[in-house]
Amino acid sequence: MNPWRTLWHYNRGKVLAAAALVVFVVWAYTRDPQIVEAVLASSLRLSIPLILGALCGLIGERSGVINIGIEGQMLLAAFVAFLVNVYTGNLLLATLSGMLVGAVLGFFLAFMSVTLRIDQIIGGTVINMLAFGLTGYFYQVGLVTKGKFAPIPIPGLADIPILGAMFFRNPPLTYLTLLLIFVVQFWLFYTPWGLRTRAVGEHPRAADTVGIDVYKMRYLNVTLAGSLAGLAGAYLTLEAVGSFERAMTNGQGFVALAVMIFGRWNPILAWGAALLFGFATALQTQLQFMNAAQIPASLLWLKQIPHQFIGMLPYLLTIIVLAGVGGRTRPPAAVGQPYVKE
């Protein structure tokens, strides 16, 4: 079945809510274009690690492997990318190192899950602890980087109102991420590899009987997905912040799992969810810093709510989604179960 039709069928409520949000944004833009553009750009920036983490998670889960080590992958990749940047100044090399670290940790997770058949939650925890330990131990205060990725405006497109500021004045890794979302969507639903991946996550024995190598698929998918988490880590130090701090991922690896579930293991929907989470955080921050005079009277009540509550909203929504309100959320049927070839 056409995945776009499936999307609409199972997500009518969300699509309508998203449309309402768009209307709101356009209206707000007419009142104060600068703030709206700032909030939107900020939403996109905040959503990048989330969507990359969610893509990493969903590629693994679609193959049947649970990855809760995304946080660790991001953190260690961020650290290594930072170090490479400090010692070589080569941003491209630093990015690739980050992705490599993510892939290596992904391979480690695959090894634990597929070959050793360890409980996958424990495997992910091992990766997190490893990353926290290594980064905490080796981090030295005072290292200085030579720079970070700068925004590259796309001529013409960058001047479109609202969307221009949000999408077309971004640094390279952001563009890469946006591209990757569509690449993963295409790959998962329109290619033979994607079909086999999904089969392996739903009914590995059936896939086995038609000659698909379940072990190989899981190893490859989890390792490659790891490089996406690595990219997220690289993004944090090389594009977003420009330096490293202990525990700088700050739970985003776990939020990425919520984004994945909220997006029903579908890359495009997960992107929508990531933007929503990013938007809530950006809005929350913006409201904190605006004083009452800048806010139109009809929205003053927003300032009354403690700003943290607005930040809470995406997490509340995830809980609601997980509880099954508004339709069943169904992960791949064989996820989390080690496969044993007879």
């Binding site: 079945m1 329109y190 290619t191 033979p192 994607g194 079909l195 086999r196 999904r198 089969a199 739903e202 009914h203 024995r205 059936a206 896939a207 086995d208 009987t209 038609v210 000659g211 698909i212 049927a333 007879e342």
Partner: protein
């Protein structure tokens, strides 16, 4: 050019402790249905798994179209034109028919899946072989019979000339079985050779061109339907004369061991057992006939301490019993062979020995105070394994490693090895092979002759007619008829089972007043 599309010579396969295939010879001609018959554990599935590449043989050779081949995995088998339809379907429930069909052998246009071409392939094959399926239907939405057609199409898509059907009728309704035979006929006409694995004697005689019987890993013989019958085949399968109709002497009923009065069980406010009253005497078998789903399950649960009825009285050996207390019932002489042996009769990961003391583990000699006595438990298991001829690698083997028939024997051994006044046997031979069925029937008759009162609940009318002394029919939660077995015939029973009125309705208290009007 060989006359055979598949030949298998001298195939031997050993597993730890078991010789699964012992120098097996088997061959298949194009356009024939060759049935492979045998009890559970005879080696049929092992042989098929070897042909399909899921196992490697220790010795022997396989030839396809006269050429010797080496099959290392399903990939090789598929390439050689061997297709397998498994007993438990190997389909991805959330995928469509077209997606399931092409999985592993995808049609592509550049890097992309070409689902439109896949759909065309499905329609083309559907028409050619007469297997109607909608390419865009999700497999999980399809009825079982149609899912099976998808499995067959999968094999045909990969150009199978040899089709292995593993127990295909186990999950089909009688109508769907007819449809399957029709499809097999079409396939035969196109030169596809079919290996039909089953343990159902009637089907084999109806549809096979040749029949090969396996027993304990060896081929016992090959014959054709014209030269044999059910008794002959059963004898080959089990190795001795099998009595398909059990021998029993007349019953000598004694006092009432079980009495049920006005039992009423409700599910969501609807009565599923509606005012049932029964009596079972010592030394007799009361057979409760009826199509599954008319309250038999709930009745059994109420009588064995698993469910509290809304209303009713239960009297065992003259003493009134509480409901929902299985232990009290067991201690007063109740034995139970449950409907679902894996869910309610056994603890699957536990050993055979532990399963054999599930009802008595807390009493001496299996326990002294708080302490378990493992030695006593082991000795008990060894004794029972011998006495009841349970085929297992040992008393410590997990009961999950036993075949269905042997699992049932473990339950029977457990229930029959303690003092018993009343036995409730619920579908005791479901899913079992001919040899095991014969064994269980014999033991139940033995129990009856030793003075136990037996309530036999079964959906197999043949079983009821062959074992019961008295027969009651259950329909929509009520007992609609009760007759002596000698006076019962299949047709009348069939009418009662379907809720109709028939002559000779009931002796003693009639409960069919108004209830049997359909």
């Amino acid at each position: 050019m060989s006359e055979f599309v598949l030949e298998v010579r001298g195939i031997t396969k050993r597993f730890p402790g078991v010789l699964a295939n012992d120098h097996v010879h088997f061959d298949l001609r194009p356009g024939e249905v060759h049935a492979l018959l045998g009890e559970n554990g005879a080696g049929k599935s092992t042989l098929m798994n070897i042909i399909y590449g899921l196992y490697q043989p220790d010795e022997g050779e396989i030839r396809v179209a006269g050429q010797p081949v080496h099959i290392r995995g399903p990939h090789d088998a598929i390439r050689l034109g061997i297709g397998m339809v498994h007993q438990h379907f190997m389909l991805i429930p959330v995928f469509t028919v077209a997606e399931n069909l092409i999985l592993g052998a995808e049609v592509t246009r550049g890097p992309m899946l070409d689902l439109e071409r896949a759909r065309q392939v499905v329609r083309h094959l559907s028409e050619e072989y007469g297997l109607q399926v909608d390419p865009d239907a999700r497999v999980e939405d399809l009825p079982v019979g149609v899912q099976q057609r998808v499995e067959i199409l999968k094999a045909l898509y990969r150009e199978a000339r040899i089709l292995i059907l593993d127990e295909p009728t186990a999950v089909l309704t009688p109508q769907e079985v007819e449809d399957l035979f029709h499809i097999m006929h079409n396939l035969k006409a196109r030169g596809v050779g079919i290996i039909f694995i089953t343990h159902k004697l009637k089907e084999v005689l109806a549809v096979a061109d040749r029949i090969t019987v396996m027993r304990r890993g060896k081929v016992v013989g090959t014959t054709v339907p014209a030269e044999t019958d059910e008794r002959g085949l059963a004898a080959m399968m089990v190795g001795r004369e099998v009595v398909l109709e059990v021998e029993k002497g007349p019953a000598h009923p004694g006092e009432v061991v079980l009495e049920v009065r006005d039992l009423r069980v409700e599910e969501h406010g609807v009565p599923v057992v509606d005012g049932v009253s029964l009596q079972v005497r010592a030394g007799e078998i009361l057979g409760l006939a009826g199509v599954q789903g008319n309250g038999q399950t709930e009745l059994a649960e109420a009588l064995t301490g698993l469910r509290r009825p809304q209303q009713g009285t239960l009297v065992l050996n003259g003493e009134e019993m509480p409901f929902e207390d299985a232990r009290v019932l067991i201690e007063h002489g109740l034995a139970h062979i449950p409907e679902d042996r894996q869910k309610h009769g056994l603890v699957m990961p536990f050993s055979v020995a532990d399963n054999m003391v599930l009802c008595t583990y807390y009493k001496p000699p299996f326990a002294r105070g708080l302490q378990r006595q493992p030695q006593a438990i082991l000795e008990n298991a060894e004794r029972l394994i011998e006495q009841f001829d349970v085929r297992t690698s040992g008393p410590l083997a997990p009961v999950a490693t036993l075949s269905g028939g042997n699992q049932q024997k473990v339950i029977v051994a457990r229930e029959f090895s303690r003092p018993v006044r009343f036995l409730l046997a619920n579908q005791p031979t479901r899913g079992l092979d001919v040899g095991s069925i014969e064994y269980i029937h014999k033991r139940i008759i033995e129990m009856r002759d030793q003075g136990v009162g037996v309530l036999l609940i079964s959906a197999e009318l043949d079983e009821i007619l062959s074992l019961a002394d008295r027969i009651a029919v259950m329909y929509e939660g009520k007992i609609v008829a009760e007759v002596d077995a000698v006076e019962a015939d299949k047709t009348t029973l069939g009418i009662w089972m379907a809720g109709g009125q028939a002559q000779g309705a009931g002796h003693g208290t009639t409960r069919s007043a108004g209830a049997a009007a359909s």
